[in-house]
């Protein structure tokens, strides 16, 4: 059985991500992005890429990256999810990078590794392995596009062959959309040029599928980080909030909800670890792990944010409170990269439970 715990290397990485995040953002910072989408997030991005090397985490050392694997990326995502950090790590450093690694592009990877540029896969944020469109001239809603310098576009060449083309910023029009989760801005992207092909045929299909599989497997860890944060903060709150002359956390109606949520978060953590650990393999077991984590962790992150809101009471309905940014991210994550229902549908043939 794969190791579902965290290695010392992962814990050290977690600590450095956490301390950097704590220095640059707080709950208000994320909240402000909703009022002012032009809020400058670049100091945070630069710090994470220059000081912790996140931009090139999955890129091999010979191309200037750290040559780390999915387990380390998953640990990073737990911290990013905990703080709903507005950085394109998942979209650029995980999804687009996985795609570029598959097609063997070197030049752009070196640029990405240094944090000098970011890239985005030009598919709707709802796409998942085996379910993504090709040949559209306007694609929406796309995640990670606002700050991207490079775009990876799956193109249907007309005869049913798919190619993967590289576009630059000048080749597209990017228009920001007002999104449910403004901490991961979404955009409408209009394609104005063909770009140049990176791969075609099976190689292109496999690269896009691998990228989306990595996104699904690792977003589960972002959801775990978010869910744990909601659980922990809510536990703290119910320990101190007094009503009827007792901390509300001493009432069984509250305790039992939190115990159930704890169990679900523990399950989510194991599922996310398993998905990350098996991501390097490209087999049925890895796909089962992705479908399980993709459906469970999506639902539990939403559940954790919703429970946090209810158990905090009216205060959690306010703009000042930290819950709203988590709820918006959690609900968006649930719809991104395949809904839980879609993941369970994908699971059916893998575990021989077809209709």
């Amino acid at each position: 059985m794969t190791d579902l715990l965290y290695s010392d290397v992962e814990e050290a990485l977690r600590d450095s991500v956490r301390s950097t995040l704590d220095r640059f953002i707080d709950d208000d910072f994320v909240s402000r992005i909703y009022d002012d989408p032009d809020t400058d997030t670049s100091p945070l991005r630069r710090a994470l890429s220059d000081q912790v090397g996140l931009a090139g985490l999955l890129i091999p050392e010979e191309l200037g990256g750290s040559g780390a694997g999915p387990r380390e990326a998953a640990t990073v995502l737990e911290e990013l999810g905990r703080t709903v950090a507005p950085v394109p790590f998942l979209t650029s450093a995980v999804i687009a990078t996985t795609c570029l690694l598959r097609v063997g592009d070197r030049g752009i990877l070196s640029e990405l590794a240094e944090g000098r540029a970011t890239a985005a896969l030009l598919v709707p944020w709802t796409a998942r392995r085996g379910a993504w469109p090709t040949g559209e001239s306007v694609i929406e809603p796309v995640a990670g596009a606002m700050e991207a310098d490079y775009f990876l576009l799956p193109v249907d060449s007309g005869d049913g062959t798919v190619s993967l083309n590289l576009l630059r910023r000048v080749d597209v029009d990017v228009e920001q959309l007002t999104s449910l989760d403004m901490s991961r801005p979404l955009a409408r992207v209009a394609v104005r040029a063909e770009g140049h092909p990176l791969a075609s045929g099976d190689a292109a299909v496999e690269a896009v599928d691998a990228a989306l599989a990595a996104g699904t497997a690792l977003m589960a860890s972002e959801q775990v980080g978010l869910a744990r944060e909601c659980l922990q903060r809510t536990v703290e709150y119910t320990r101190t909030r007094v009503q009827f002359a007792r901390p509300i956390g001493s009432f069984q109606s509250i305790k039992h909800r939190l115990a159930d949520l704890y169990l679900q978060v523990v399950q989510a953590q194991a599922a996310a670890r398993h998905a990350a650990a098996s991501l390097a393999e490209d087999d049925d077991e890895a796909r089962i792990a992705q479908a399980v984590a993709g459906s469970w962790c999506s639902d539990i992150a939403v559940r954790a944010a919703e429970e946090a809101l209810q158990l905090h009471g009216g205060i959690a309905m306010t703009w000042e409170h930290w819950v709203h940014t988590r709820l918006k991210r959690a609900k968006s994550d649930q719809l991104a990269l395949g809904t839980p229902d879609a993941h369970r549908t994908d699971l059916a043939p893998l575990v021989d439970l077809t209709a």
Partner: protein, 389 residues
């Protein structure tokens, strides 16, 4: 670990599994320290990491060696043995551990009472010291395996003038004592898996007291934590009720509907994440990170068993309207999965009650894992005899 491999080889070379009597082989295995490898030397183990057990079990199974009947002696192996190891004296460990492992002694557990189930510390069964012997009087209930057990672990009240947790003491009872009367307790399934046990003037030598007088709650808590680990175990995918339903789905296209498929897949995912969480919990235990998280696993297990066994009846309604057999049976190896779907449905109802109700488990998780404040307890600090019952 090469030493373990050598020990296994050595055991197999002296005791050929094909020709050695089962109890004799298990006794030799115990003596070689291969029974519970994490137990100390001389106590069935070698004082090595618990994680090594899997390897030993696999090597011996591959050689065709007999395994102990954990199902038949689950109380002895899963609860009495670790409790004796933690709280028993050298003489008690010497007398009992080996015979538990070889199944020469089957054990049962005399904890619950008609008036003390979830509130276990409220047990009223009394033990008073008469010279060197304790005299026990009271009634216990939900005692699985009492009808074929040689020994029992018992929690009894030795002082009712102190608050409930402080007045308990833990004993080993010889079930052949003439004061022990075992009556079958027939359940919802028709089976009599459990018993009522009446204790009238049962004599327990002071040398069979486990831990100090008044320390019974501490010892019992350790036992119950072991119980929850045992209940939460099970590493194979589709090992529980989901396996039965998935198998039916694959074999029988007539049960397949879109609605049922959505439900089945959701339960499949939930069972799988519970399995993974169980694997992760075991890895944490092996890495030396202890915790009461197994209480959470028991919650998950109970919920899934109940919901999935209910779904199984809906998948095949004609069959679900029938029942396999209402005859009162007394099986030695109770199984949640044996027999027909109706039995599985009814038996699973007990999963959220036995071994600590789901409500108690949620309190345990909330208070001991999450650190939430204790529930309001009006009997706190009050002598047991003054608590309304």
């Amino acid at each position: 670990m090469p030493e373990l491999d050598d020990k296994v080889r050595d055991l197999l070379s002296h005791y050929d599994p094909a020709t050695t009597d089962k109890a004799e082989f298990l006794g030799a295995r115990f003596d070689a320290g291969l029974a519970w490898v994490h137990f100390p030397r001389g106590r069935g183990g070698l004082g090595v990491s618990r994680g090594e057990q899997e390897r030993v079990d696999a090597l011996l199974a591959a050689a065709g060696a007999p395994a102990p009947d954990v199902g038949r002696n689950s109380i002895g192996m899963g609860m009495a043995a670790p409790t004796l190891l933690a709280f028993g004296d050298a003489d008690q460990q010497e007398r009992y551990l080996r015979r538990i492992y070889t199944c020469e002694d089957i054990w049962c557990q005399l904890f619950s009472e008609p008036g003390a189930g979830s509130d276990l510390a409220a047990v009223a069964t009394r033990a008073r010291l008469d010279g060197d012997t304790w005299i026990v009087d009271g009634q216990k209930v939900w005692t699985s395996g009492a009808h074929h057990a040689q020994r029992a672990i018992l929690v009894a009240r030795t002082d009712s003038s102190v608050p409930k947790h402080a007045g308990l003491t833990y004993f080993v009872v010889d079930m052949s004592d003439p004061g022990v009367e075992v009556r079958p307790l027939r359940q919802i399934t028709g089976e009599a898996e459990f018993n009522e046990v009446f204790l009238s003037g049962v004599r327990v030598p002071n040398s069979d007291r486990i831990g100090d007088v008044g320390q019974g709650w501490k010892v019992a808590t350790a036992t119950l934590n072991n119980e929850r680990v045992a209940i939460g175990a099970g590493a194979a995918r589709e090992a529980g009720q989901i396996g039965v339903v998935a198998d039916r789905w694959r074999r029988d296209p007539s049960v397949r509907t879109p609605g049922a498929q959505a439900e089945l897949l959701a339960w499949w995912v939930e069972t799988e994440v519970t399995r993974l969480a169980g694997v992760r919990l075991r890895q944490q235990l092996e890495a030396g990170v202890p915790g009461p998280e197994s209480s959470a696993m028991k919650l998950a297990f109970a919920r899934q068993a109940q919901e999935i066994s209910g779904l199984a009846l809906e998948l095949a309604p004609e069959e679900g309207l029938l029942y396999d057999d209402w005859t009162m049976t007394r099986t030695e190896r109770p199984s949640f999965l044996g027999r027909g779907p109706g039995f599985r449905y009814l038996r699973a109802k007990g999963n959220s009650i036995e071994g600590g109700t789901s409500e108690i488990m949620r309190n345990v998780v909330a208070e001991r894992v999450l650190g939430l404040p204790a529930d309001h307890r009006p009997d706190k600090g009050i002598p047991f005899k003054e608590v309304p019952r």
